[in-house]
């Protein structure tokens, strides 16, 4: 059972306080987008063995959504960060690079 630090209230929350919200940093496509763009936005998801970016909500807590970068294989957590961002911040990417040199995820590396 995971522990993630909620960047909003500072609590090291165990998984029973949290709700998983799927892949992070999806770009929304609405009216005017092509069928392919919309299809990918709705359905296409990363399923990596290794570095992954996810959304979580501190649902039994402060109620805030946040992002987590972690390894799906070892469950190592590289860091958690604000939900109000469209891509992982530099310090998170650096933390991953320190542990997993050469990592890539979607367009990030």
């Amino acid at each position: 059972m995971l522990i993630l630090n909620c960047p909003y209230c500072g609590v090291d929350a165990e998984e029973t306080e949290l709700a998983a919200g799927g892949e992070a940093h999806l770009k929304r496509f609405g009216p005017g987008s092509s069928d392919d763009e919309f299809h990918d936005y709705l359905f296409m998801r990363e399923n990596p063995k290794g570095v992954h970016f996810e959304r979580w909500r501190h649902s039994n807590g402060c109620g805030k959504w946040f992002h987590a970068a972690r390894c799906t294989q070892t469950l190592e957590v590289f860091g958690t960060y604000s939900a109000q961002t469209t891509e992982p911040p530099k310090e998170i990417k650096d933390a991953i690079t320190a542990k997993r040199p050469g990592w890539t995820w979607r367009e990030y590396e």
Binding site: Y8, C9, E17, G63
Partner: protein, 188 residues
């Protein structure tokens, strides 16, 4: 107006700690920019307390203010004053982007008191409640078994627990089980 009645009307239970439904407590959910001076003044005017920092709770009797999230406070005032305080607060915040609503009747409040109070709650919430980790002045939002709850300490042996009104019966029964005689854990 007829006499308002709290969820469990002061029900109580004595076990390894005393569990009591506290009756009606005035509560206002206030959402806004917590660094805003107008908002801070409105809170101070209503409660006499300064703006709490992350997970802080400044409570004195029936008045106080608890940090709920980076943009939310729980403002405590005596139940009979809640409408007046809310009106004053709404008035003070009229030019500010903020939301203040009365949630007094949407909640139930319990106190758990006695030397085993921390242990009673420690059976239901996945939170470290040793005196080193949790003290008066702090608030924690978590879960109480299967429902959401928040709690702070009145003093070193008294916890105050807030949950939704509809779950009051469940939470009271939970606390009764957790406080049953002979169930001291002996760690806190």
């Amino acid at each position: 107006m007829s006499e308002p009645i709290s969820a469990l009307n002061h029900a109580s239970y004595d076990g390894i700690a005393k569990v009591q439904e506290c009756g009606l407590q005035g509560m206002i959910t206030l959402r806004g920019d917590l660094s805003d001076k107008v908002l801070a003044k409105a809170v101070k005017d209503a409660t006499g307390q300064k703006m709490p920092g992350q997970r802080e709770a400044f409570v004195d009797g029936e008045s106080g203010v608890c940090w709920m999230s980076p943009d939310e406070l729980l403002v405590l005032v005596p139940y009979v004053e809640v409408e007046a305080k809310l009106a004053a607060m709404t008035n003070a915040l009229s030019g500010t982007h903020a939301l203040a609503v009365n949630v007094s009747d949407a909640r139930a409040v319990f106190s758990i008191s006695g030397s085993s109070a921390r242990e009673v709650l420690g059976k239901l919430a996945p939170v470290e409640l040793s005196s080193k980790a949790f003290q008066p002045g702090q608030i924690r939002r978590s879960r109480l078994a299967q429902v959401a709850g928040a709690f702070w300490m009145d003093d070193d042996q008294t916890l105050r627990v807030v949950c939704f009104r509809s779950a009051a019966d469940y939470v009271f029964n939970l606390l009764k089980v957790a406080a049953q005689p002979g169930s001291e854990v002996g760690v806190y």
